[in-house]
Amino acid sequence: MSRILQDRDERRPETHPLTFRLNDDGTSVMLDAYREQQGYVSVERAFRDLTSKTLIDELKTANLRGRGGGGFSAGLKWSLTMQGEGIPRGYIVCNADEMEPGTFKDRLLLEQQPHLLIEGMILAGFANNAYQGYIFMRGEYVDAARTVQRALEEARAAGWLGRDVAGSGWDFDIALHTGAGRYICGEETALINSLEGKRASPRAKPPFPGQSGAWGKPTVVNNVETLCNVPSVVLHGADWYQGLSQGKSGDGGTKLYGVSGKVKRPGLWELPMGTTGNELLERAGGMRDGHTLKTWLPGGGSTGFLLPEHLELGLDFDTIGKAGSRLGTGLIAVVADDQSVVSLARNLEEFFARESCGWCTPCRDGLPWSVKLLQALEAGEGERGDIDLLESLAVDLGPGRTFCAHAPGAAMPLASAIHYFRDEFERGVTRGQGKAHADPIPVGSV
């Protein structure tokens, strides 16, 4: 069970749209309690006052950026989804696959506030003229699946789902789909294949899911947290939503931030978008006694390492991007001074190597090779040239050379680890060139 580490007094409806309803004891907020706290009011408002176009415009102005890691504007994505005369009604797919190393935010929303997600998906369905929603949830989230299933039944019984939603004359339902492992399922086109009952291989883009997604129909894929932000935008408007970030960021809203690693109080907090790393670390109680901070990952295993001095930056997409990393999921992992960065990089690349779908050469062959090189450096058996090789592998794995963003995600921590901690890698080099890896695997393009 995930826990929000802010007391109820701090979590106000005006400032904490994602978490103000959560119970301090971590129990789920089900329909009655949810309804009593403005639940589903945004749907009533949308049916009464909004059209697909005005809702999407509001969302664009609010500048709600995708919380699944990419930061793409939700309003812009929805405005590009095909709908209209002669175009079949399609799907809203909630990405609840959450497997990015270091990420534990969607679990909280799924386990403790399923109706907020359902409400967001109804609004997404309305705006994108979809007739069916799917919640694609990773198989290991057993409790979340039970809670969400129960919430779907409650919502259906109360008329928020199914035929003629809330007397609007519009039909929309949601089904829960649970997965069976594999990180790559979280990539949106792989997720669509998986939803269709196929192996989770990414699809070529274009066509984008908004043009042709699940079963060839227009499909919107959004992260859990993204969808959970939509009700408050619809209810209170774009200006209000923009104001939530209190001028700390050009991005709208709040963010479910988190800290993991060797801190005193690891956990989750809903804070204005653009909150600094320093404030997060402070809320987490600082490093455990006897440890100091060496480096950190701002938002998951596929983001680049940053230094302690970067903690003063506001955690939003553009600021962290400018610092050479990515905000990713916005849950930071802190690395203590006694942790070898070479070993950590090895652990990360092992993950990406194992989870590659195997389609593209740089990803399929380059990642296991990088693991070998890192293992050798870790064991103090690296050769001269190994570090350069790792760097060129990171380039081959970079953006634009593979089918999906898995490989670039693997490249980022690797390249940044070498960039900031080259001396640690060099300490692993004890041999001349060409002994252990006489027969390197060729790495080409796709």
């Binding site: 990773r138 290991e140 069976a180 492992g181």
Partner: protein, 171 residues
């Protein structure tokens, strides 16, 4: 939407493998959520696995017939996903998170302690068929790392000393 296949027709048997009536009903129910029956493949495999512990070849055939899709497609799916087991596993599957935040909170020591305590490595089952040990991607419990699952239960943070006590509940 209704499907005629659930209750009236004869049970589907392949090589002595018979889909349980309840499982056929559960699979039929899952099918209704999708425009194409193939979409229920993963759910069907999970339903069968829940009853049998793993998915034998004959079950692949049976699911393929039940859904009306080629066996090769079910097989392709079954071998792709890490939580579908194509070999027998122990009564309880232990999934230890090996991702970065657990790594930063001493996952490797926990893993080694499990190896030693159970006398097996990843991908192996104890001789008494009680436990199978597997690594798993970030469990979304990084605030409680190192984290693991036993069956449907998630635990964390777990220290090596706690292992014997933790396993007691799983006979």
């Amino acid at each position: 939407m209704t499907h005629a296949s659930t209750s009236t027709s004869a049970p589907i048997a392949t090589d002595g493998f018979v889909l349980h009536d309840e499982d056929r009903a559960a699979i039929a129910h899952e099918r209704e959520h999708y425009p194409h029956p193939q979409a229920a493949s993963i759910e069907a495999l999970k339903i069968v696995q829940k009853r049998h512990g793993w998915v034998p070849d004959a079950a692949i055939e049976a699911i393929a017939r039940e859904l009306g899709v080629p066996p090769a497609s079910i097989e392709g799916v079954a071998t792709f996903y890490s939580l579908i087991f194509r070999q027998p596993v122990g009564r309880h599957v232990i999934l230890i998170c090996d991702s970065s935040s657990c790594f930063l909170t001493d996952y490797e020591a926990l893993r080694d302690a499990f190896f030693e305590h159970l006398g097996i490595g990843f991908g192996q089952t104890t001789p008494d068929d009680r436990f199978t040990l597997l690594p798993v991607c970030c469990l979304g419990a990084c605030d409680r790392g190192p984290a693991l699952m036993i069956g449907d239960d998630t635990y964390g943070p777990v220290t090596p000393e706690e292992i014997p006590k933790l396993l007691e509940a799983y006979a």
